[in-house]
């Protein structure tokens, strides 16, 4: 039950309870007594507005739920507050509803808040909205006024029914009354009985959201909810975002039930898999041939639940199902309380079209809505070629990270190339040794090649020990500012312990000379644009950090809508 404040929502609700005979014994007497003591008229709204403050101020502060019955079926009625400052309470109520009543005061007509509520209803996916034009008694039951409001609201939404009512006098709620013979449509309860109850999402692709992992008598049980589709024992499942596959050995419930071989949308179950995979809270299981898209970038239609508008580059926490992750707003386009936000997730996320998303700032929900599109950073036509120059000791992880980043970007269709020190040494610089002069020459050649490739629109990742500040400065100048110095950080002891090519051992034994860190100095970067610490952090985190860094500087996000949603898997 939604609509602007003072349009009579709680009164209609109270009236519904009474007129359908859903009140318990003594409730009317109690209401009369309270109203008399308070010295006002009969306040039907007091049946719902239970707080003293609500009764004293004659407003609804928070959502409430009451039950009534018609001859056909039972209903839970969620009465929502109308005030702007209680909008999050209205929204909270709306997310639980299957259908809605939008109340409009006939005396005042459509208000801004009426439209806002209509937007919230549409956003949470409520398609059946019954419009109740209330207080018809106050406009002399005038048919023209009713029709004008009916025409106007039909521009904002497609109503399931539009009913003229008088809650005060109980007209067109359960009984027709005598003052609106011109209206031939259903009374409010008849309109309710005509609503269809939404079926669970059985025909949709399977989505099982992992809530937690339990260990029980040596069994490892993934507990969670089937959000849509059907999960069967024996199904091969894919777990996003990492993509591991595992077979459902059995569906775990208590007490044990060997007959339990499938679970439908809405069920809270546990599953036992045929192998141990890394799947934690937030993972989404699906069938491999109908998996959610994976993306770092998503676009969402968000209803704002705080006074301040969203701004770009704002850091928020997004929650989708059981998944919780940090996002940054890339862009925010808003009108009134509705915004279209493009968000960049810190980690790769499984995403479905129309998926529900709630945004939090400091533990407070500040926005909520649905996913409109996902996308990925790709080197689109307007992408800028740039040089990302890795420096660091031998064994720090330069080549490993460079190759992993290259693989990821190639997979997205980017023009990217890794210019690797070892490879250059074997080819173009085969004539050079390791004296300080030869090293400078090697870096000079690498700088020139990197700069030329970047100018042609390629993302260049140059991985060179490049021990001298002068050499790195030269590389920066060669790329004419399209240059970023990334320090791959690990100290000598760490690199020597790793020694992947056995070079440190050789250098210590004196078999090779002029080796950086042993008998040739490494000049620490003074102001690197990014530091990736592989000594204290792991390589995968480093890869992600570099990817983010490159995306933000050299790439543009491509966003796809519903039609191409699956194309970005």
């Amino acid at each position: 039950m939604t609509g602007e404040v003072d349009h009579g929502k709680s009164t209609i609700a109270g009236r519904l309870l009474h007129d359908t005979g859903s009140l318990t014994e003594g409730k009317i007497e109690e209401l009369k007594e309270i109203c008399e003591r308070r010295g006002g008229g009969q306040e039907w709204s007091f049946l719902l507005d239970a707080f003293q403050d609500e009764r004293n101020l004659a407003i609804t502060i928070d959502t409430t739920q009451v039950r009534f019955k018609t001859a056909k079926r039972g209903y839970v009625l969620i009465d929502a507050p109308g005030h702007l400052e209680f909008l999050r309470n209205m929204f909270s109520g709306a997310t639980e509803a299957d259908a809605a009543v939008l109340v409009i005061n006939a005396e005042r007509g459509l208000q801004e808040q009426t439209r806002r509520h209509a937007h919230v209803l549409s956003l949470v996916g409520i398609t059946q909205v019954i419009v109740a034009v209330n207080k018809m008694d106050a406009v002399g039951y005038n048919q023209e006024i009713f029709e004008k409001i009916a025409a106007e609201i039909s521009k904002t939404l497609v109503p399931f029914a539009i009913v003229p009512i008088s809650a005060r006098h109980g007209e067109m709620i359960v009984s027709r009354g005598e003052n609106m013979a011109w209206y031939q449509g259903p009374v409010l309860t008849e309109a309710f009985d005509a609503l269809t109850v939404s079926a669970m999402l059985a025909g949709e692709p399977l989505r099982f959201s992992v809530q937690d992992v339990y260990r029980d008598h040596g069994r490892r049980i993934l507990v969670g909810r089937v959000e849509s589709g059907i999960l069967k024992s024996g199904d091969e499942l894919m777990f996003a975002p990492y993509g591991q596959m595992a077979k459902v050995e059995s569906i775990a419930v208590w007490p044990d039930d060997p007959q339990k071989i499938e679970a439908h949308a809405g069920e809270s179950i546990g599953i036992i898999l045929d192998r141990e995979i890394l799947a934690e809270r937030g993972a989404i299981a699906s069938h491999a041939d109908n998996a959610p898209a994976l993306s770092h970038v998503l676009k969402a239609k968000i209803f704002r639940l705080r006074p301040a508008p969203f701004i770009s580059d704002e850091s928020l926490t997004a929650r989708m199902g059981t998944s919780s992750f940090t996002v940054k707003t890339l862009s925010a386009i808003g009108e009134d309380m509705l915004s279209e936000l493009t968000l960049r997730a810190e980690t790769l996320q499984p995403v479905d079209f129309n998926q529900k998303i709630v945004l939090f700032s400091d533990a407070e929900a500040v926005g909520a809505g649905i996913v409109l599109g996902a996308g990925e950073y790709t080197g689109a036509s307007d992408s800028k070629g740039q040089v990302f120059w890795f420096t660091g000791l031998s064994g720090a992880g330069k080549t490993t990270i460079a190759k992993a980043v290259e693989k990821e970007l190639l997979g997205r269709g980017c023009k990217v190339h890794v210019l690797d020190g070892d490879e250059l040494r074997r080819t173009i610089s085969a004539d050079l040794g390791f004296s300080p002069e030869d090293r400078e020459e090697n870096i000079r050649r690498a700088s020139a090649i990197a700069a030329r490739m970047a100018a042609s629109g390629t993302i260049v990742i140059a991985a060179f020990i490049s021990p001298s500040r002068a050499g790195r400065k030269h590389a920066r100048e060669a790329a004419k500012g399209w240059f970023h110095e990334i320090y791959i950080k690990a100290d000598l002891a760490t690199c020597e312990k790793r020694d992947p090519k056995g070079l440190y051992k050789k250098a210590r034994a004196g078999k090779i000379t002029d080796f950086t860190g042993i008998d040739s100095p490494y000049e620490l970067p003074e102001k690197p644009d990014l530091v990736v610490d592989t000594q204290n952090g792991d390589i995968e985190e480093g890869v992600q950090a570099v990817l983010r860094f490159i995306e933000e500087r050299a790439m543009t996000p491509g966003i796809y809508g519903q039609d191409r949603f699956r194309a970005i898997k």
């Binding site: 318990t24 239970a50 909270s92 208590w254 809405g266 909520a368």
Partner: protein
């Protein structure tokens, strides 16, 4: 969902698992009444037969003997870790409260001393929206301030089962996994799942308890429903409110709000 009870149960299990994941240490109030016993059964379903946190009786010493017998039996049968926490005496309550309200306030104060002693961050409570107008306005995850009070004028948004689980220091979270159930649903569920309940609910000599509370402030109502089926049939048509036998609800217009604002369940 095959039927509506399965749907109600699935949502409660989801909430219980969310609570267990995000709020620790956790405890559950168990009054031995039909609601918290049905909920306890769902806890066992959620955690594959185990009850992974203590169940708590806020004991005023005023429960009926049948209730204590039932408690002792289930502790044995279901292997429960039960905290029997004594509530402070009535003399220590706010004397401005009316008698039954004052008596009920002992539970609130008992809960406060329990929280102090055991440092619980989350308390699971089996209240339902259809019981009472104020409970109808509750959230599933409902934060309480440091003094245990309910800031009902400023409740967090609760959207699509995204519950607020952050708790400020000294405060605690009430978790309400049964809010969406109705009285008749609970009885149908007790029957379907074959869950034991206190015999006082079944009519003897034309009277039965609809709602169980301490014997000084709760009274049986007229009824001939002596079996589960008869209770369900009675509830299908009754016009008597569930809490008709609860004295404190009637003492003044705001008695229940006074209790709840200060931290009552």
């Amino acid at each position: 969902m095959s039927d509506s009870l399965a749907g109600l149960e699935a949502r409660s299990i989801y909430i219980l698992r969310e609570a267990y994941k995000s709020v620790r240490p956790l405890g559950m109030l168990w009054s031995m009444g039909k609601d918290s016993t049905a909920l306890l059964w769902m806890v066992r379903k959620s955690f594959f037969g185990k009850v992974p946190f203590p169940v708590i009786l806020l004991d005023t010493g005023m429960e009926l003997p049948e209730v204590y017998e039932f408690r002792d039996r289930l502790i044995m049968d279901w292997k429960l870790e039960c905290i029997n926490h004594p509530c402070p005496p009535e003399e220590e309550m706010d004397q401005s409260l009316k008698p039954a309200t004052r008596s009920a306030a002992r539970k609130t104060e008992g809960l406060k001393t329990l929280l102090e002693q055991h440092q619980f961050k989350g308390i699971i409570v089996g209240i339902r929206r259809d019981e009472q107008g104020l409970r109808a306005k509750e959230r599933v995850f409902s934060p309480r301030r440091a003094d245990g009070s309910w800031n009902f004028k400023n409740q967090p948004a609760e959207l699509w089962d995204q519950f607020q689980s952050e708790i400020s220091p000294d405060a605690h979270m009430r978790i309400h996994p049964l809010l969406h159930w109705a009285e008749i649903d609970v009885w149908r569920y007790l029957k379907r799942e074959n869950i034991p309940c206190v015999p006082l609910y079944f009519a003897r000599n034309g009277m039965r308890y609809r709602s169980l509370g301490e014997h000084n402030i709760t009274f049986p109502v007229a009824s001939n429903a002596a079996t589960l089926d008869e209770i369900i049939a009675e509830l299908e048509t009754t016009k008597i409110s569930e809490r008709a036998g609860r004295a404190m609800d009637r003492e003044s217009e705001d008695s229940f709000e006074l209790l709840r604002a200060r931290g009552y369940m």
